[in-house]
């Protein structure tokens, strides 16, 4: 008796269902607006330092680009329009023990499709604390650190990054989770 294999149907994804080409979009967008394009830094070599301590015994830093809430500089709430006045220009640190009030109205998040109403979508502090409580991570660093989104790569490289490293060393961390917003 002849048998036929069960019919399988291959379903391809839609043409546009790929990671958004942000660099191309941004270049085209600012060019149309009449501004010079941003040039993203890139490198041939990428450093790699394997994790030397098992995560269950490691101390982990959280680093964010979110900004401390500043009541005097206008709307920074969920869905607020881009708020350049809420930007910050120096590395900051806040105790990781607390739940800091950090916002992302100063960056170009997708305001059409999300609203920044839940801090845990851009700051995984609560989930990291869960992971510590579950024994998955040894400990969190005592502070979480804020990295400015300076347009100048020179400032980032010469001033902000050494400062972040200094603070991470002070905190004695083995690893860092970095979350751009």
């Amino acid at each position: 008796m002849a048998t036929t294999a069960p019919e399988t149907k291959t379903v391809f994804a839609a043409e546009h269902d790929v990671p958004i080409p942000y660099m191309q979009r941004t270049r085209d967008y600012y060019q149309a607006l009449g501004f010079s394009p941003y040039r993203w830094a890139h490198f041939v070599d990428v450093p790699f330092a394997p994790l030397r301590t098992p995560l269950a015994r490691a101390r982990v830093a959280l680093i964010t680009t979110a900004a401390p809430f500043q009541p005097e500089v206008g709307d920074q709430g969920p869905g607020a329009p881009y708020n350049a006045a809420a930007k910050f220009y120096k590395v900051y640190s806040v105790p990781a023990e607390s739940t800091p009030d950090l916002r992302i109205s100063h960056v170009g998040y997708d305001r059409l499709h999300t609203s920044a109403e839940d801090i845990s979508t851009y700051l995984p502090l609560a989930r990291l604390k869960d992971a510590v409580a579950a024994g998955r991570i040894g400990a969190l660093g005592p502070r979480l650190h804020g990295a400015p989104t300076n347009r100048s790569q020179r400032v980032t490289i010469e001033i902000d990054n050494p400062e972040l490293l200094r603070r991470c060393r002070e905190d004695g961390v083995d690893a860092a989770v970095l979350v751009p917003s």
Binding site: A13, A14, H16, P19, I20, P21, Y22, M23, Q24, R25, D28, Y29, A32, L33, W40, A41, H42, F43, V46, P47, A49, L51, R52, L55, A61, Y82, A84, A85, K90, G108, Y109, D110, L112, H113, T114, S115, E117, S120, T121, Y122, P124, R127, D130, A131, R136, A147, N150, T156, I157, D160, N161, L164, L165, A175, A176, V177, L178, V179, P180, S181
Partner: protein, 122 residues
Amino acid sequence: MSLAARHLEDNGISTVIMGCAKDIVEHCGVPRFLFSDFPLGNSAGRPNDADSQALTLELALRVLESAPAARTTVQSPLRWRDDASWKLDYNNLAKLTPDDIAERRKEFESVKATIKDMPGRK
């Protein structure tokens, strides 16, 4: 953020980036990257969905522990929604009218003026 990860890693601190802008992070070149194909602003998972946030963090931790070499990217299996048409919207010129563009140009000029006048700016 990619530059910060590189600097820490260069100095012996292992790093993982959690992010939504795949091309930008990979263009720079970073040691480890957990990519979520979500709208910008959701690097750590979906809003009001602790399970999705926990899964996103767990994937990042696994990448931190087990990446075999630099430039390791892992993509979260989570979908923002079944219909991917949201990806067509962000700063997409093809969807903007000349009036939209003129308005955004004005907004951007005012943003630049704000930044220029800010104390502490470098």
